[in-house]
Amino acid sequence: MRRDQLGSAVVRFAGDSGDGMQFAGSQFTQSTALSGNDLATFPDFPAEIRAPAGTTFGVSAFQINFGDDTIQTPGDACDMVVVMNPAALKVELPELLPGGLVVVDTGTFTERNLHKAHYESSPLEDGTLDAYRVIKLDISAMTLEAVKSMDLGKKESLRCKNMWALGFVYWMYARDRQPTLDWLNEKFVKKPELAEANITALNAGHAFGETAEMPHDIHGFSIGKADIEPGQYRTVTGAEALSWGLVCGANLIGLQMTFCSYPITPATPILHILSNLMEYDVLTFQAEDEIAAICSAIGASYAGSLGVTSSSGPGIALKTEAMGLAISAELPLLIINSQRAGPSTGLPTKTEQSDLYQAVYGRNADSPLVVISARSPADCFDVAIEAIQLSTKYMTPVILMTDGYIGNAAEPWRIPDMDTYEKKPVQFSTDPEGFKPFLRDEKTLARPWAIPGTPGLEHRIGGLEKDYDTGHISYDPANHQRMTDMRAAKINGIANDIPPQGVEEGGTQGKLAVVGWGSTYGAINRAVSTVRGDGLDVAHIHLRHIWPMAANLGELLAGFDQVLVPELNTGQLVTLIRDKFLIDAVSLSKVSGQPFKISEIEAAIRERLESQT
């Protein structure tokens, strides 16, 4: 049989919330990883928990980009979409490249479903799909046929549709079915009849591909193996990598973690994951509100645990006052912000990077803290470990910025060997000799961490200003000036402790630097390598450390004629950079709730360079 060789492909599975598209997508991901491709995925959930069946707002989709070279993003546009009903077709068609493939379950294109998707006539007949290659399959009927001997009832039988479709897509891309067969057997270990039905459907979809007569212009595909560093791999979502990073980070400093949170989209998966890890000395606490969540985390830190709280923008806003206390009392604390589109409730399930001002500036008074950001799902792991180390070393709250996109997206991850990480257990103060609660370490300017339970170190702290020497309450004007300066100096000094800012792609000087932070990493990196391939003098610089910034950043940026800052907000990092370095950095802004497309960044780069010539 003929298979067309591809470098990479973007496939999107879309159907009703109840159609099991996320399962199909994640199984396809596993199998694709096993066949040696690099990949990136993005699940796209509806905002409603149980939207009415067949509606456009109930469409749930899963996108995967995979190929024989480095894959950085889930892909700008799709080469193929699998749609399980008219609503999915309606929603997903704009994502498909002209000439792209649509696999349609025609069995769901009933009058009623067409009406629910607001189609006046059937798009399968009326020319809507003329620009695409269409594979019309009555997946519903073929699934029912395949499992009819199992005596399941129609509803249960139709639930196997996703596996039929997956089997067919496995055939198209020559994927191995075995991992999914194993997974089904494990998932339905207590209901073997369901395992059998799903397996039968999967095999039937695959067999259909092998035997059916396809239209003449449609073939299966094959994609070569990517050049991947040897090692043990798994796929991780940002929420998983972040949770595990917290566990490992706490383990490396020898502390129990007390994770205090209140449910909020899209931060909640972290709470769920950590709640299952008690055996790793993780204590999770679902507080009564966002304020109680941060306050209990601070209480835990005060008592010698690693206090962590996690939320999204609106919840972070509520925590603000307590952050001020942690800054004033100089206690370690980790605050995770899984950003979402706002203001207010905004678009809770859509992504944005619009809480940067909030993180850096969003508190009353002069209240500096550390802000650090993750660029990708796997990066969350390392960032969490670093955030914990900074927080405990400098006795300061650290805000860790991630977003809804990173949290839900998945990528392959080379699993680190934790035995190779350096263990640095926290040293609490124990010596009463000369102990003063706010006497600073000369180098880090951090105060000692003296925890209740330690004889001879009894002391009182709080949000009132403290005397520089004794740590007692002080209303002295000169002392307040000194303490304010010290708090700022402590945070600014961290700039000399973090690694110097590097360049991801390109040289340390040139015509244009594209400076990003957070989840725009993949799109920027791809765009920059493409234009560099065309000979353009462009570099990609990506910030992990938002506050303080790396000590060399100003000098680095000064080596470029122009600086372009793409952000999923109306221009926040760009303002920070302009303010701090007095350079004419230019913003590329997007706030549609969707990540940047590579092509959008590419176009902006070309436009900048052309405007200059």
Binding site: Q30, L34, P179, I228, E229, P230, G231, Q232, Y233, R234, T235, W244, V247, C248, Q256, T258, C260, L277, M278, E279, Y280, D281, L283, F285, A287, E288, I291, A292, C295, S296, A297, I298, G299, A300, S301, Y302, A303, G304, S305, E321, G324, L325, I415, D417, M418, P452, G453, T454, P455, G456, L457, E458, H459, R460, I461, G462, G463, L464, H472, I473
Partner: protein, 342 residues
């Protein structure tokens, strides 16, 4: 008689700090501080194991005057900080000090939840029915009609009953005392300390500057005996100078009434016996008010159940038994993995 060897030699003075106390002269807080320093010495508390946590307000200065660990936090949130401290180290003895504005207004939510969860700490609510630190505005505990800088026409709000609220929130230990009743106050502190779970003690505290004598209707020397009843578990609910007044269930009604023994055919056997494990009785006692009823002081309710930390510990033990060792390399390799060879 058992001779108990003192577990440590600390005196009340050893629990005082060198910080200048900044309450107004004559403030009821002084007496509460004194009772606490004495209680801690009496119970043989260890300074290093004791933590006072407070929010904002006059009462919230309390930790600065105790030579233990202390954390003066933000307005209304002390129960949440206290919860975090107990999560991190359940062995610490945590006292949350709060006021009526701090606990019942801005921090009402946290008071509700700490009681409901039954975290093993003591909440001491210094109730003076006014905002002191911000100079005299009415509080959620102020009686309707209270004139204050923010209610020149008199407050039109109904006050909350702290003890009834604590019971409603599921508190398992609810007690009351008065700043001037040194001995009784100390006893309440001891009882609260001994209780496993959240103990809630409301202390009627006189704010001499902004709400002087607001509790005089049941604390003034000449009327106190008639206007208050000291509860004792297993003892009849009797009060009055001559010990002739008592509480009984009004015949035919589900409510309490104050009666005089020997009048209208009331005999001593008609008087209710206090049962601090009876929640319904506690609820009725909490709501008694002068002039028709005496104010109930003492332990209104005490019915211990496992604390929140007990539950957390059980889960920890179970999880660790299930997966001993907690090897983090294993955690990272849970589920599906694959190996790429060079």
């Amino acid at each position: 008689m058992n001779i108990v060897t003192p577990v440590n030699e600390l005196t009340p003075k050893d629990f005082a700090t060198d910080q200048e106390v900044r309450w107004c002269p004559g403030c009821g807080d002084y007496a509460i501080l004194k009772a606490m320093q004495r209680t801690l010495a009496d119970i043989g508390a260890k300074r290093e194991n004791t933590v006072f946590v407070s929010g904002i307000g006059c009462a919230a200065r309390f930790p600065y005057y105790m030579a233990t660990y202390g954390f003066h936090t933000i307005h209304g949130r002390a129960p949440a900080f206290g919860t975090g401290i107990k999560l991190a180290n359940p062995d610490l003895d945590v006292w949350v000090v709060t006021g009526d504005g701090d606990a019942l207004s801005i921090g009402g939510n946290h008071l509700l939840h700490v009681l409901r969860r039954n975290v093993n700490l003591q909440v001491l609510l210094f109730n003076n029915e006014i905002y002191g630190l911000t100079k005299g505005q009415y509080s959620p505990a102020s009686r309707a009609g209270t004139r204050s800088p923010s209610t020149p026409w008199g407050s039109i709000e109904n006050p909350v009953s702290a003890a009834a609220l604590a019971l409603g929130a599921g508190g398992r230990f609810v007690a009351r005392s008065v700043d001037t009743m040194q001995k009784h106050l100390g006893e309440m502190f001891k009882r609260a300390h001994d209780h496993n779970g959240t103990s809630f003690v409301e202390i009627f505290q006189n704010c001499i500057v902004f709400n002087n004598d607001i509790f005089a209707d049941f604390t003034a020397k000449d009327i106190a005996d008639e206007a208050q009843i000291i509860l004792e578990h297993g003892q009849p609910l009797i009060f009055g100078k001559e010990r002739t007044r008592g509480l009984r269930v009004r015949p035919g009604f589900f409510e309490l009434e104050a009666v005089t023994i020997g009048e209208d055919g009331v005999e001593e056997k008609d008087i209710l016996v206090h049962d601090e494990t009876n929640r319904a009785l506690a609820g009725m006692l909490a709501l008694m008010e002068p002039p028709t009823m005496p104010v109930a002081l003492g332990v209104l309710y005490c019915y211990p159940t496992p604390s929140y930390e007990d539950g957390v510990k059980d889960h920890f033990d179970e999880a660790k038994a299930h997966n001993p060792g907690g090897d983090i390399n294993k955690l990272l390799r849970r589920g599906h993995t694959w190996t790429v060879t060079g």
